[in-house]
């Protein structure tokens, strides 16, 4: 009996001691998207999209903006304005205004990594202009701008139409000495929000941008492509066909499998060989081209290889100009050359003087049910 009494006393002590902080789902304001902009005097302005759970009201989200010194400071200020406590556990997307991106985003992402509430799979993106105007605008067709932007970025990443920019990958590349990251750019155009391009970063600052169509070539060079669709304009001369001598042939292909290999050929002079083997599927081509002739395929393949090579060279040259290695050449160098002892500055120098020999082999595997 003595043992039982002791046990009961102990039990009651425990019950009095431990109180975990409750965060009941419908009593907290779930932040699904945050947009950061830079304000004067080093202050940071946060626009927060909070999910509202009131079936009677029409608008599903509440958008709040505050300007403070730190992002936690903005959270405190927003708490003072909202009916429910703010909780960031369901955060999915973070947007940065263009000015903030050009200044530096290293501080915000460091804050996110420190926070245990926030998952490392959130998406980051840059907004042309400032985030607040994109988020606060009363869209006609979009009821939940947070969910909308998340779905927009998510399905494009699935289809490999834009670069995957989870927080984990960004932080990983940011802290790696020999690699840089890129973020998608969002643009508000009328009633729509669209992905407008890719922003290249160096040391957390935005240094350049590429048009959205170039994603295909970026993806090939980073060896992540197995699903992308691209539209190519082939020059008539490369086709070796009388019909198209002076014209351009528009085709659309869907890639089935892409393999790319980077090899360091000459480490002293920083020369790489980039080999791309691409199996693709022909989606759309001018109906005058007769697809029953196997020689036509060879011509198209050759023309495609040339075009892709040209475009990749162009993209790479631009990246070298802005000194942003998003493709992983630095990592390849470090992994293939022993004792390379690469530092950030050393690689930066090497990258800008890098020479790459492209070799593209395209093979059209399938082409639809009607020839």
């Amino acid at each position: 009996m003595k043992k039982e009494k002791l046990f009961i006393v102990l039990l009651s002590c425990i019950l009095l001691m431990g109180c975990a902080d409750q965060k009941i789902l419908e009593r907290i304001g779930l932040v699904t998207l945050i947009g950061y902009d830079v304000e004067e005097e080093e202050k940071i302005s946060a626009t927060v999209v909070i999910r509202q759970i009131n079936p009677e009201f029409q608008s599903k989200v509440e958008v709040q903006t505050e300007t403070e010194n730190t992002s936690k400071g903005t959270r405190i200020s927003i708490d003072r304005k909202t009916a429910k406590q703010i909780a960031a556990g369901q955060l999915r997307v973070v947007l940065f205004g263009e000015d903030l991106a050009k200044k530096s985003i290293e501080h915000p992402i460091h804050t996110f990594m420190m926070n245990n509430e926030i998952s490392t799979s959130i998406y980051l993106a840059v907004v042309r202009g400032d985030a607040q105007s994109l988020l606060a605008y009363p869209y006609e067709n979009v009821t939940d701008v947070g969910q909308h932007i998340y779905n927009l970025i998510d399905h494009n990443i699935e289809q490999q139409q834009t670069i995957s920019s989870t927080l984990h990958e960004i932080v990983r590349d940011d802290y790696s000495d020999v690699r840089n990251f890129a973020l998608p750019i969002l643009l508000k155009k009328g009633e729509n929000i669209q992905l407008d391009g890719i922003a290249l970063f160096k040391k957390g600052k935005m240094v350049g941008e590429l048009p959205a169509n170039d994603i295909f070539y970026i993806m090939i060079m980073t060896n992540k492509l197995d699903n992308g669709t691209v539209e190519l304009t082939l020059d008539g001369e490369t086709l070796n066909n009388n019909k198209f001598k002076d014209e351009q042939l528009q085709i659309a292909v869907d890639s089935i499998k892409t393999k790319r290999k980077i090899k360091v050929v000459n480490s002293k002079q920083n020369e790489f060989n980039l080999t791309v083997n691409m199996d693709c599927r022909l989606l759309e081509i001018d109906s005058k081209v007769s697809l029953t002739d196997p020689k036509v395929y060879e011509d198209i393949e050759r023309a495609m290889s040339e075009k892709i090579k040209k475009e990749m060279m162009k993209t790479l040259k631009y990246s070298q100009e802005v000194d942003s290695d998003i493709y992983g050449f630095g990592e390849q160098f470090r992994s293939q050359v022993r004792d390379s002892n690469l530092t950030e500055e050393k690689w930066s120098e090497l990258f800008q003087n890098m020479k790459v020999n492209f070799d593209v082999n395209v093979e059209i595997v399938r082409n639809g049910v009607f020839e």
């Binding site: 431990g18 109180c19 975990a20 902080d21 409750q22 965060k23 009941i24 789902l25 419908e26 907290i28 779930l30 999910r51 759970i53 009131n54 079936p55 909780a87 556990g89 369901q90 999915r92 509430e117 998952s119 969910q147 998340y150």
Partner: protein, 502 residues
């Protein structure tokens, strides 16, 4: 009912004191009748019949077979006028006849169902045992039904039940030991086991535990099970109670020790481990892939039943980050109309389901079914519309309740339902940590538990790899060892290891 229950008390002194004095039988008829009426407090069903000048018979009405009495005893006795008890005993065409010179023993026999024949001037009585009493006809067992398989269940009469078992096991090694328990009720119980298959150790343990019991009455086998098990404080049953003779026989053939109590339609089997509570006879009747699927379904059902509601409560109260995005909107919208925190909502709904279930069990069948349906659907919908609960929680709770009914054993099903409540409370206060704490607590409790000395979690732990094919899954017959090691049988292989399908 439990006035005088003593387990393992000091042995002989108490017994000596309680043993009644031996009263000799009075030789005079009038004295004898007076003594009998005094000892039995003159019950209304005591019948005294004078056969002749010297012979009198006494018996209790409705406890004896009237036909035998009239045709055999009365006709024979009429012809014997001056017979001694010995001659009467030899001439009576009854299978069980006895002579006694103790009054208490004869009264006891009369209470079971015997006719006492007193001869004037003799101090010995003839006891003719011709008991017969009404018992329920054999019907299908109510609480353990199977889709395919035999449909006969035990009833409340001990001889009938033993005869049912003997029909399944026609084996001279089936031993039957009789005990009488309960000071006031003198209930007879039978301990059954198959010599050569059951281990001596198990039989001795059961025997010893029964002998050490000192209780005032014993009305049901469930009470006996609780008295002789290893740990009465535990929520988990350690002995199986079954209504099915085929399950009982299956247990005996695997080396278990069975107990049947007179007056109860449930037989006890021991030792029984946790995994075995989720096995049903039907698994042997079905083909092995289906049986394996059904067993795995049952195990999945336990986990769903115990943990789904607490996980829901924990996720919604503390860990909103765990909810994936597509679920977020429906969950939060259905919760937004509820004024209570999730733990109150969950406990409230669980309580309603338990009330429905309990009410449904007590009501007569026709009304019970209607209440079940009405209660379930109407109450559920009305509760959602009134804003007391959310849709999703109703689905979860209904799923949990359904899962808890898949256990083939009623006792274990109850355990699962009840164990859920403390876990919900823990989840409501300490989230996933609380759920994990409860899980560890239950796990340690199961590991600590033993059933008649056998570890409760056998054969999973201590791992007996040979028994794994028939525990959680049911592999085809050539792989299954008939005698599981937990029953410590003498010969562990019934058949030699030959392939069944040649």
């Amino acid at each position: 009912m439990f006035r005088d229950i003593k387990k393992k008390s000091s042995p002989t002194n108490q017994a000596e004191k309680d043993k009644p004095k031996e009263i000799p039988i009075p030789t005079s008829k009038l004295e004898f009748l007076k003594k009998i009426k005094e000892e039995t407090n003159e019950p209304a069903d005591l019948i005294v019949k004078k056969i002749s000048e010297s012979i009198t018979i006494v018996f209790l009405d409705f406890l004896i077979d009237q036909n035998t009495l009239n045709e055999q005893i009365l006709t024979t006795l009429e012809k014997m006028n001056d017979a001694t008890p010995n001659i009467i005993k030899e001439n009576l065409l009854i299978s069980e006849v006895d002579l006694t010179s103790e009054l208490n023993k004869s009264i006891f026999e009369m209470l079971i169902g015997a006719v006492l024949i007193h001869v004037e001037g003799q101090s010995e009585l003839v006891i003719a045992k011709i008991s017969s009493y009404q018992s329920r006809g054999l019907t299908a067992p109510e609480n353990e039904s199977q889709v395919i398989g035999s449909q006969v269940g035990f009833n409340e009469s001990l001889p009938t039940n033993i005869s049912l078992i003997r029909r399944y096991i026609t084996n001279p090694n089936l031993c039957n030991e009789k005990f009488m328990l309960g000071k006031e009720t003198n209930t007879s119980i039978s301990v059954l086991y198959i010599k050569g298959i059951a281990s001596e150790q198990n039989v001795n343990t059961v025997r010893q535990r029964i002998k050490e019991l000192e209780i005032s009455d014993l009305l049901d086998s469930a009470v006996l099970a609780e008295l002789i098990d290893d740990n009465s404080f535990s929520i988990f049953p350690q002995l199986l109670l079954t209504e099915r003779p085929d399950r009982f026989s299956d247990g005996l053939l695997s080396g278990k020790v069975g107990i049947i109590v007179n007056g109860s339609s449930m037989g006890i089997l021991s030792p029984y481990t946790f995994v075995e509570f989720f096995q049903s006879r039907e698994d042997q009747n079905l083909r092995w892939p289906i049986a394996t699927f059904v067993r795995l379904l049952r195990f999945a059902a336990i986990f769903i039943s115990i943990f789904m509601t607490p996980l829901y409560v924990a996720a919604l109260t503390f860990h909103y980050e765990v909810i994936p995005q597509p679920l977020l909107v429906p969950l939060s919208e259905s919760r937004s109309i509820v004024p209570f925190p999730p733990i109150i909502e969950a406990l409230f709904l669980e309580l309603i389901i338990e009330l429905l279930r309990e009410a449904g069990a007590r009501l007569p069948t026709k009304v019970g079914q209607t209440i079940g349906i009405v209660g379930g659907i109407v109450l559920g919908t009305a509760a959602v519309q009134a804003g007391i609960t959310s849709n999703i929680l109703i689905i979860i709770i209904a799923l949990c309740a359904l899962s808890s009914f898949t256990t083939p054993n009623y006792l274990m099903g109850n355990v699962i339902r009840v164990v859920r409540f403390p876990i919900i409370v823990l989840a409501g206060f300490w989230g996933f940590y609380g759920v994990m704490f409860a899980f560890c607590m239950i796990l340690i409790h199961l590991i600590r538990q033993s059933s008649l000395g056998v570890p409760y979690t056998a054969p999973i732990y201590p791992p007996r790899w040979r028994d794994w094919p028939d525990s959680i899954v049911r592999l085809p017959l050539p792989f299954i060892n008939r005698q599981s090691i937990i029953n410590k049988p003498k010969n562990s292989n019934t058949t030699e290891e030959e392939k069944v399908n040649k």
